[in-house]
Protein backbone atom coordinates (compact mmCIF):
# COMPACT_ATOMS: atom_id res chain seq x y z
CA UNK A 1 0.00 0.00 0.00
CA UNK A 2 2.93 2.31 0.68
CA UNK A 3 3.78 2.05 -3.02
CA UNK A 4 0.36 3.33 -4.12
CA UNK A 5 1.08 7.09 -3.99
CA UNK A 6 4.38 6.52 -5.80
CA UNK A 7 2.62 4.41 -8.45
CA UNK A 8 -0.08 7.06 -8.94
CA UNK A 9 2.60 9.74 -9.29
CA UNK A 10 4.51 7.54 -11.72
CA UNK A 11 1.60 6.97 -14.11
CA UNK A 12 0.16 10.48 -13.87
CA UNK A 13 3.44 11.81 -15.27
CA UNK A 14 3.03 13.32 -18.78
CA UNK A 15 5.40 10.74 -20.27
CA UNK A 16 2.95 7.99 -19.31
CA UNK A 17 -0.26 9.94 -19.78
CA UNK A 18 0.75 10.50 -23.42
CA UNK A 19 0.31 6.82 -24.17
CA UNK A 20 -2.63 6.19 -21.87
CA UNK A 21 -5.21 7.17 -24.43
CA UNK A 22 -4.16 4.30 -26.62
CA UNK A 23 -5.68 1.88 -24.09
CA UNK A 24 -4.10 -1.57 -24.11
CA UNK A 25 -1.56 -0.51 -26.76
CA UNK A 26 -0.04 2.20 -24.53
CA UNK A 27 3.72 1.74 -24.61
CA UNK A 28 4.08 1.32 -20.83
CA UNK A 29 1.57 -1.54 -20.44
CA UNK A 30 3.93 -4.34 -21.49
CA UNK A 31 7.02 -3.09 -19.63
CA UNK A 32 4.86 -2.70 -16.51
CA UNK A 33 3.46 -6.22 -16.99
CA UNK A 34 7.04 -7.42 -17.49
CA UNK A 35 8.09 -5.81 -14.20
CA UNK A 36 5.21 -7.48 -12.32
CA UNK A 37 5.83 -10.91 -13.89
CA UNK A 38 9.58 -10.69 -13.20
CA UNK A 39 8.86 -9.64 -9.61
CA UNK A 40 6.89 -12.87 -9.07
CA UNK A 41 9.45 -14.94 -11.00
CA UNK A 42 12.14 -13.53 -8.71
CA UNK A 43 10.14 -14.57 -5.62
CA UNK A 44 9.75 -18.18 -6.76
CA UNK A 45 13.21 -18.55 -8.36
CA UNK A 46 15.12 -18.43 -5.04
CA UNK A 47 13.16 -21.13 -3.15
CA UNK A 48 13.06 -23.25 -6.32
CA UNK A 49 16.86 -23.07 -6.57
CA UNK A 50 16.97 -21.82 -10.17
CA UNK A 51 18.27 -18.63 -11.74
CA UNK A 52 15.79 -16.08 -13.04
CA UNK A 53 17.01 -16.38 -16.64
CA UNK A 54 15.79 -19.93 -17.14
CA UNK A 55 12.25 -18.89 -16.12
CA UNK A 56 12.38 -15.52 -17.86
CA UNK A 57 13.19 -16.47 -21.47
CA UNK A 58 10.60 -19.22 -22.09
CA UNK A 59 7.81 -17.41 -20.21
CA UNK A 60 8.38 -13.93 -21.64
CA UNK A 61 9.28 -15.39 -25.05
CA UNK A 62 6.01 -17.31 -25.18
CA UNK A 63 3.55 -14.85 -23.65
CA UNK A 64 4.87 -11.34 -24.44
CA UNK A 65 4.88 -9.56 -27.82
CA UNK A 66 8.65 -8.91 -27.89
CA UNK A 67 10.89 -10.53 -30.49
CA UNK A 68 12.87 -13.47 -29.14
CA UNK A 69 16.18 -11.66 -29.88
CA UNK A 70 15.31 -8.96 -27.31
CA UNK A 71 13.91 -11.50 -24.84
CA UNK A 72 17.16 -13.47 -24.94
CA UNK A 73 19.22 -10.28 -24.60
CA UNK A 74 17.16 -9.27 -21.57
CA UNK A 75 17.38 -12.83 -20.20
CA UNK A 76 21.17 -12.67 -20.30
CA UNK A 77 21.12 -9.35 -18.50
CA UNK A 78 18.76 -10.74 -15.86
CA UNK A 79 21.10 -13.70 -15.30
CA UNK A 80 24.13 -11.40 -15.25
CA UNK A 81 22.62 -8.85 -12.85
CA UNK A 82 21.39 -11.52 -10.42
CA UNK A 83 24.79 -13.22 -10.30
CA UNK A 84 26.67 -9.92 -9.98
CA UNK A 85 24.50 -8.87 -7.05
CA UNK A 86 25.09 -12.14 -5.22
CA UNK A 87 28.80 -12.48 -6.10
CA UNK A 88 30.54 -10.32 -3.47
CA UNK A 89 28.84 -11.87 -0.43
CA UNK A 90 29.29 -15.39 -1.80
CA UNK A 91 33.02 -14.78 -2.31
CA UNK A 92 33.48 -13.28 1.15
CA UNK A 93 31.64 -16.20 2.77
CA UNK A 94 33.76 -18.73 0.89
CA UNK A 95 30.63 -20.10 -0.80
CA UNK A 96 31.99 -19.10 -4.22
CA UNK A 97 35.52 -20.18 -5.08
CA UNK A 98 37.49 -18.06 -7.52
CA UNK A 99 40.12 -20.72 -8.31
CA UNK A 100 37.39 -23.20 -9.19
CA UNK A 101 35.38 -20.64 -11.15
CA UNK A 102 38.16 -19.14 -13.31
CA UNK A 103 39.05 -22.09 -15.59
CA UNK A 104 35.41 -23.18 -15.95
CA UNK A 105 34.23 -19.62 -16.60
CA UNK A 106 36.88 -19.17 -19.28
CA UNK A 107 35.56 -22.11 -21.31
CA UNK A 108 31.95 -21.11 -20.71
CA UNK A 109 32.54 -17.49 -21.76
CA UNK A 110 34.23 -18.55 -25.03
CA UNK A 111 31.42 -20.93 -25.94
CA UNK A 112 28.73 -18.45 -24.78
CA UNK A 113 29.89 -16.08 -27.52
CA UNK A 114 29.59 -18.94 -30.02
CA UNK A 115 26.06 -19.59 -28.76
CA UNK A 116 25.16 -15.90 -29.00
CA UNK A 117 26.50 -15.73 -32.58
CA UNK A 118 24.48 -18.76 -33.64
CA UNK A 119 21.38 -17.57 -31.78
CA UNK A 120 21.32 -14.22 -33.57
CA UNK A 121 22.07 -15.83 -36.94
CA UNK A 122 19.34 -18.50 -36.85
CA UNK A 123 15.69 -17.79 -37.69
CA UNK A 124 13.62 -17.06 -34.55
CA UNK A 125 11.33 -20.07 -35.05
CA UNK A 126 14.31 -22.46 -35.12
CA UNK A 127 15.68 -20.95 -31.89
CA UNK A 128 12.19 -21.10 -30.36
CA UNK A 129 11.82 -24.82 -31.16
CA UNK A 130 15.31 -25.56 -29.80
CA UNK A 131 14.51 -23.46 -26.70
CA UNK A 132 11.27 -25.39 -26.13
CA UNK A 133 13.10 -28.72 -26.37
CA UNK A 134 15.90 -27.51 -24.08
CA UNK A 135 13.42 -26.23 -21.49
CA UNK A 136 11.59 -29.58 -21.54
CA UNK A 137 15.00 -31.23 -21.05
CA UNK A 138 15.63 -28.95 -18.06
CA UNK A 139 12.22 -29.98 -16.65
CA UNK A 140 13.30 -33.62 -16.79
CA UNK A 141 16.71 -32.76 -15.27
CA UNK A 142 15.09 -30.80 -12.42
CA UNK A 143 12.57 -33.57 -11.77
CA UNK A 144 15.05 -36.45 -11.63
CA UNK A 145 18.41 -34.95 -10.56
CA UNK A 146 19.42 -35.62 -6.97
CA UNK A 147 21.75 -33.45 -4.92
CA UNK A 148 24.54 -34.37 -2.59
CA UNK A 149 25.26 -31.98 0.28
CA UNK A 150 28.86 -33.22 0.73
CA UNK A 151 29.89 -35.51 -2.16
CA UNK A 152 32.63 -38.03 -1.41
CA UNK A 153 35.80 -37.27 -3.39
CA UNK A 154 38.39 -39.92 -2.54
CA UNK A 155 41.22 -38.13 -4.35
CA UNK A 156 41.55 -35.00 -6.44
CA UNK A 157 42.52 -35.44 -10.10
CA UNK A 158 45.89 -34.27 -11.43
CA UNK A 159 44.48 -31.22 -13.26
CA UNK A 160 42.66 -29.84 -10.22
CA UNK A 161 45.79 -30.56 -8.18
CA UNK A 162 47.93 -28.59 -10.64
CA UNK A 163 45.43 -25.69 -10.57
CA UNK A 164 45.24 -25.75 -6.77
CA UNK A 165 41.46 -26.15 -6.73
CA UNK A 166 40.36 -27.01 -3.21
CA UNK A 167 39.00 -25.13 -0.28
CA UNK A 168 37.32 -24.89 3.07
CA UNK A 169 34.03 -23.34 3.95
CA UNK A 170 32.24 -22.96 7.24
CA UNK A 171 28.77 -24.48 7.24
CA UNK A 172 26.59 -21.89 8.97
CA UNK A 173 24.11 -24.54 10.17
CA UNK A 174 26.51 -27.08 11.67
CA UNK A 175 29.23 -24.52 12.45
CA UNK A 176 31.83 -26.97 11.12
CA UNK A 177 34.66 -26.28 8.66
CA UNK A 178 34.27 -28.46 5.59
CA UNK A 179 37.33 -29.36 3.47
CA UNK A 180 36.60 -30.02 -0.16
CA UNK A 181 38.46 -31.02 -3.30
CA UNK A 182 37.31 -31.95 -6.79
CA UNK A 183 37.70 -34.75 -9.31
CA UNK A 184 36.82 -35.33 -13.00
CA UNK A 185 37.97 -31.77 -13.79
CA UNK A 186 38.67 -32.34 -17.55
CA UNK A 187 35.14 -33.73 -18.11
CA UNK A 188 33.69 -30.88 -16.04
CA UNK A 189 35.51 -28.34 -18.22
CA UNK A 190 34.19 -30.00 -21.38
CA UNK A 191 30.63 -29.86 -20.05
CA UNK A 192 31.00 -26.18 -19.18
CA UNK A 193 31.76 -25.53 -22.84
CA UNK A 194 28.37 -27.04 -23.71
CA UNK A 195 26.59 -25.20 -20.87
CA UNK A 196 28.11 -21.86 -21.87
CA UNK A 197 27.06 -22.40 -25.47
CA UNK A 198 23.44 -23.11 -24.47
CA UNK A 199 23.44 -20.10 -22.14
CA UNK A 200 24.58 -17.78 -24.94
CA UNK A 201 22.25 -19.35 -27.50
CA UNK A 202 19.08 -19.08 -25.43
CA UNK A 203 19.99 -16.30 -22.98
CA UNK A 204 18.86 -18.47 -20.09
CA UNK A 205 21.84 -18.30 -17.72
CA UNK A 206 22.98 -21.76 -16.72
CA UNK A 207 22.59 -22.38 -12.98
CA UNK A 208 20.28 -25.30 -13.80
CA UNK A 209 23.25 -27.12 -15.40
CA UNK A 210 26.21 -25.58 -13.54
CA UNK A 211 25.15 -26.84 -10.13
CA UNK A 212 24.62 -30.53 -11.10
CA UNK A 213 27.97 -30.63 -12.95
CA UNK A 214 29.86 -29.01 -10.07
CA UNK A 215 28.07 -30.98 -7.36
CA UNK A 216 27.33 -34.42 -8.80
CA UNK A 217 30.16 -34.76 -11.35
CA UNK A 218 33.06 -32.82 -9.84
CA UNK A 219 32.17 -33.44 -6.19
CA UNK A 220 31.89 -29.83 -4.99
CA UNK A 221 29.76 -29.43 -1.81
CA UNK A 222 26.25 -28.27 -2.74
CA UNK A 223 26.48 -24.79 -1.21
CA UNK A 224 29.88 -24.10 -2.81
CA UNK A 225 28.55 -25.46 -6.11
CA UNK A 226 25.58 -23.05 -6.03
CA UNK A 227 27.79 -20.08 -5.08
CA UNK A 228 30.50 -20.85 -7.62
CA UNK A 229 27.87 -21.38 -10.32
CA UNK A 230 26.74 -17.81 -9.72
CA UNK A 231 30.33 -16.54 -9.96
CA UNK A 232 30.85 -18.40 -13.25
CA UNK A 233 27.70 -16.76 -14.61
CA UNK A 234 29.13 -13.28 -13.96
CA UNK A 235 31.77 -13.96 -16.60
CA UNK A 236 29.99 -16.34 -18.99
CA UNK A 237 26.84 -14.19 -19.22
CA UNK A 238 28.99 -11.09 -19.57
CA UNK A 239 30.71 -12.25 -22.78
CA UNK A 240 27.39 -13.14 -24.43
CA UNK A 241 25.74 -9.93 -23.19
CA UNK A 242 28.48 -7.91 -24.91
CA UNK A 243 27.69 -9.69 -28.18
CA UNK A 244 23.94 -9.08 -27.87
CA UNK A 245 24.53 -5.42 -26.93
CA UNK A 246 26.91 -4.96 -29.83
CA UNK A 247 24.33 -6.35 -32.26
CA UNK A 248 21.43 -4.20 -31.06
CA UNK A 249 19.65 -7.13 -29.38
CA UNK A 250 19.18 -5.42 -26.01
CA UNK A 251 16.29 -2.99 -25.60
CA UNK A 252 16.42 -1.02 -22.33
CA UNK A 253 12.61 -0.79 -22.19
CA UNK A 254 12.51 -4.61 -21.95
CA UNK A 255 15.75 -5.31 -20.12
CA UNK A 256 15.64 -2.77 -17.27
CA UNK A 257 12.11 -3.49 -15.89
CA UNK A 258 12.98 -7.20 -16.08
CA UNK A 259 16.22 -6.80 -14.14
CA UNK A 260 14.71 -4.52 -11.48
CA UNK A 261 11.56 -6.67 -11.05
CA UNK A 262 13.56 -9.86 -10.80
CA UNK A 263 16.03 -8.44 -8.29
CA UNK A 264 13.34 -7.01 -5.98
CA UNK A 265 11.42 -10.30 -6.21
CA UNK A 266 14.56 -12.33 -5.49
CA UNK A 267 15.28 -10.32 -2.33
CA UNK A 268 11.74 -11.00 -1.10
CA UNK A 269 12.05 -14.66 -2.15
CA UNK A 270 15.24 -14.96 -0.11
CA UNK A 271 13.46 -13.53 2.97
CA UNK A 272 10.50 -15.89 2.43
CA UNK A 273 12.77 -18.95 2.25
CA UNK A 274 11.99 -19.89 5.84
CA UNK A 275 8.20 -19.66 5.46
CA UNK A 276 7.68 -21.03 1.95
CA UNK A 277 7.58 -24.74 1.30
CA UNK A 278 10.58 -25.06 -1.04
CA UNK A 279 9.55 -28.43 -2.47
CA UNK A 280 6.05 -27.15 -3.33
CA UNK A 281 7.57 -24.05 -4.98
CA UNK A 282 10.03 -26.24 -6.87
CA UNK A 283 7.21 -28.42 -8.21
CA UNK A 284 5.30 -25.27 -9.18
CA UNK A 285 8.35 -23.92 -11.05
CA UNK A 286 8.82 -27.26 -12.83
CA UNK A 287 5.14 -27.04 -13.92
CA UNK A 288 5.67 -23.42 -15.08
CA UNK A 289 8.75 -24.44 -17.06
CA UNK A 290 6.85 -27.35 -18.61
CA UNK A 291 4.00 -25.07 -19.77
CA UNK A 292 6.37 -22.42 -21.11
CA UNK A 293 8.58 -25.07 -22.77
CA UNK A 294 5.53 -26.50 -24.57
CA UNK A 295 4.45 -22.93 -25.40
CA UNK A 296 7.86 -22.14 -26.93
CA UNK A 297 7.79 -25.38 -28.91
CA UNK A 298 4.27 -24.75 -30.28
CA UNK A 299 5.13 -21.13 -31.09
CA UNK A 300 8.31 -22.17 -32.90
CA UNK A 301 6.43 -24.81 -34.90
CA UNK A 302 3.81 -22.24 -35.86
CA UNK A 303 1.02 -24.21 -34.16
CA UNK A 304 0.33 -21.47 -31.60
CA UNK A 305 0.76 -17.74 -32.28
Amino acid sequence: MRCLPLTLFFFSHPAFAAGAGAGASAWWVWPLALFVVCFFLGIVAVPAGVGGGVLFVPIVGSFFPFHLDFVRGAGLLVALASSLAAGPSLLKAGLANLRLAMPLAFGASVSAIGGAMLGLALPANVVQVALGLTILGIVVLMAVARKSEYPHVPASDSLSGMLGIHGIFRDAISGEDVNWQVHRTPLGMALFLVIGFLGGLFGVGAGWANVPVLNLLMGVPLKVAAGTSSLILTTASSSATWYYLDNGAILPIIAVPSVVGMMIGARIGAHLLSVLNASVIRRMVIAMLFVSGVGALLKGLGIWA
Binding site: P14, S109, G164, I168, T235, Y243, L245, P252
Partner: protein
Protein backbone atom coordinates in the same frame (compact mmCIF):
# COMPACT_ATOMS: atom_id res chain seq x y z
CA UNK B 1 44.93 -29.94 2.83
CA UNK B 2 44.13 -27.73 5.79
CA UNK B 3 42.82 -24.33 6.69
CA UNK B 4 46.20 -22.76 6.07
CA UNK B 5 46.38 -24.12 2.50
CA UNK B 6 43.00 -22.73 1.53
CA UNK B 7 43.64 -19.43 3.32
CA UNK B 8 46.47 -18.56 0.94
CA UNK B 9 43.85 -17.70 -1.69
CA UNK B 10 41.84 -15.36 0.53
CA UNK B 11 43.54 -12.23 -0.81
CA UNK B 12 42.43 -12.79 -4.41
CA UNK B 13 38.89 -13.75 -3.29
CA UNK B 14 38.49 -10.63 -1.17
CA UNK B 15 39.98 -8.30 -3.76
CA UNK B 16 37.75 -9.77 -6.46
CA UNK B 17 34.72 -9.43 -4.14
CA UNK B 18 35.48 -5.77 -3.38
CA UNK B 19 35.82 -4.84 -7.06
CA UNK B 20 32.71 -6.82 -7.91
CA UNK B 21 30.75 -5.00 -5.20
CA UNK B 22 31.71 -1.47 -6.25
CA UNK B 23 31.53 -2.01 -10.01
CA UNK B 24 28.13 -3.71 -9.70
CA UNK B 25 26.82 -0.89 -7.51
CA UNK B 26 28.05 1.68 -10.04
CA UNK B 27 26.40 -0.29 -12.85
CA UNK B 28 23.03 -0.57 -11.09
CA UNK B 29 22.93 3.09 -10.10
CA UNK B 30 23.79 4.13 -13.67
CA UNK B 31 21.26 1.70 -15.14
CA UNK B 32 18.39 2.90 -12.95
CA UNK B 33 19.32 6.59 -13.15
CA UNK B 34 19.54 6.64 -16.94
CA UNK B 35 16.38 4.55 -17.30
CA UNK B 36 14.36 6.93 -15.09
CA UNK B 37 15.69 9.86 -17.15
CA UNK B 38 14.66 7.96 -20.31
CA UNK B 39 11.08 7.02 -19.40
CA UNK B 40 10.28 10.37 -17.74
CA UNK B 41 11.52 12.26 -20.78
CA UNK B 42 14.33 14.04 -18.91
CA UNK B 43 16.60 12.76 -21.67
CA UNK B 44 14.83 12.75 -25.06
CA UNK B 45 14.58 9.36 -26.77
CA UNK B 46 15.73 8.75 -30.36
CA UNK B 47 12.77 6.41 -30.81
CA UNK B 48 9.63 7.91 -29.23
CA UNK B 49 8.35 5.66 -26.45
CA UNK B 50 4.94 5.50 -28.15
CA UNK B 51 6.56 3.96 -31.25
CA UNK B 52 8.25 1.09 -29.41
CA UNK B 53 5.30 -1.36 -29.62
CA UNK B 54 5.62 -1.16 -33.43
CA UNK B 55 9.29 -2.19 -33.44
CA UNK B 56 9.95 -4.41 -30.42
CA UNK B 57 8.50 -7.43 -32.27
CA UNK B 58 11.11 -7.14 -35.06
CA UNK B 59 14.34 -9.19 -35.20
CA UNK B 60 17.31 -7.21 -33.87
CA UNK B 61 18.92 -6.56 -37.27
CA UNK B 62 15.60 -5.42 -38.80
CA UNK B 63 14.92 -3.23 -35.75
CA UNK B 64 18.26 -1.48 -36.31
CA UNK B 65 17.48 -0.93 -40.01
CA UNK B 66 13.95 0.37 -39.42
CA UNK B 67 14.83 2.68 -36.53
CA UNK B 68 18.30 3.76 -37.63
CA UNK B 69 19.63 3.02 -34.14
CA UNK B 70 23.43 2.74 -33.97
CA UNK B 71 25.22 -0.59 -33.87
CA UNK B 72 28.32 -1.45 -31.85
CA UNK B 73 29.81 1.34 -29.72
CA UNK B 74 28.37 4.26 -31.70
CA UNK B 75 25.91 4.85 -28.81
CA UNK B 76 28.75 6.13 -26.62
CA UNK B 77 28.78 9.40 -28.56
CA UNK B 78 25.00 9.83 -28.21
CA UNK B 79 24.52 9.62 -24.45
CA UNK B 80 22.23 12.62 -24.59
CA UNK B 81 19.52 10.30 -25.91
CA UNK B 82 17.63 8.51 -23.13
CA UNK B 83 17.34 5.16 -24.90
CA UNK B 84 21.09 5.12 -25.65
CA UNK B 85 22.14 6.47 -22.23
CA UNK B 86 20.61 3.33 -20.69
CA UNK B 87 23.29 1.30 -22.49
CA UNK B 88 25.90 2.87 -20.22
CA UNK B 89 24.62 0.98 -17.16
CA UNK B 90 24.37 -2.24 -19.17
CA UNK B 91 27.95 -1.78 -20.41
CA UNK B 92 29.24 -1.19 -16.87
CA UNK B 93 27.46 -4.31 -15.60
CA UNK B 94 28.81 -6.31 -18.54
CA UNK B 95 32.30 -4.96 -17.85
CA UNK B 96 32.37 -5.81 -14.13
CA UNK B 97 34.26 -9.07 -14.74
CA UNK B 98 36.95 -7.21 -16.70
CA UNK B 99 37.58 -4.79 -13.80
CA UNK B 100 37.68 -7.66 -11.28
CA UNK B 101 40.04 -9.85 -13.30
CA UNK B 102 42.39 -6.91 -13.89
CA UNK B 103 42.35 -6.26 -10.13
CA UNK B 104 43.50 -9.77 -9.18
CA UNK B 105 46.18 -10.12 -11.85
CA UNK B 106 48.78 -8.39 -9.69
CA UNK B 107 48.13 -10.92 -6.92
CA UNK B 108 48.82 -13.80 -9.29
CA UNK B 109 51.89 -12.06 -10.70
CA UNK B 110 53.34 -11.46 -7.23
CA UNK B 111 52.71 -15.08 -6.29
CA UNK B 112 54.20 -16.25 -9.61
CA UNK B 113 51.00 -18.17 -10.25
CA UNK B 114 51.59 -18.24 -14.00
CA UNK B 115 48.71 -20.54 -14.91
CA UNK B 116 46.10 -18.25 -13.38
CA UNK B 117 47.85 -15.16 -14.72
CA UNK B 118 47.62 -16.58 -18.25
CA UNK B 119 43.98 -17.54 -17.62
CA UNK B 120 43.28 -13.93 -16.61
CA UNK B 121 44.95 -12.59 -19.76
CA UNK B 122 43.00 -15.01 -21.97
CA UNK B 123 39.72 -14.14 -20.25
CA UNK B 124 40.39 -10.42 -20.69
CA UNK B 125 41.15 -11.00 -24.38
CA UNK B 126 37.85 -12.86 -24.83
CA UNK B 127 35.76 -10.28 -22.97
CA UNK B 128 37.41 -7.29 -24.65
CA UNK B 129 37.05 -8.96 -28.07
CA UNK B 130 33.34 -9.51 -27.39
CA UNK B 131 32.95 -5.95 -26.13
CA UNK B 132 34.92 -4.35 -28.96
CA UNK B 133 32.76 -5.71 -31.75
CA UNK B 134 35.69 -7.61 -33.30
CA UNK B 135 33.68 -10.80 -33.07
CA UNK B 136 30.80 -9.14 -34.90
CA UNK B 137 33.10 -8.43 -37.84
CA UNK B 138 33.45 -4.74 -37.09
CA UNK B 139 36.51 -2.70 -36.14
Amino acid sequence: MGLKDAGQYDEEQLRYAAWLHWSTLLGFLTLIGTFVAYVFGILPARIPLERLPQVWNLPADEYLKVTGMPKGWAWIGMLGSGDLASFLGIAILSGCSIFCILAVMSVYARRRDWIYLVLCVLEIVILVSAASGLLSGRH
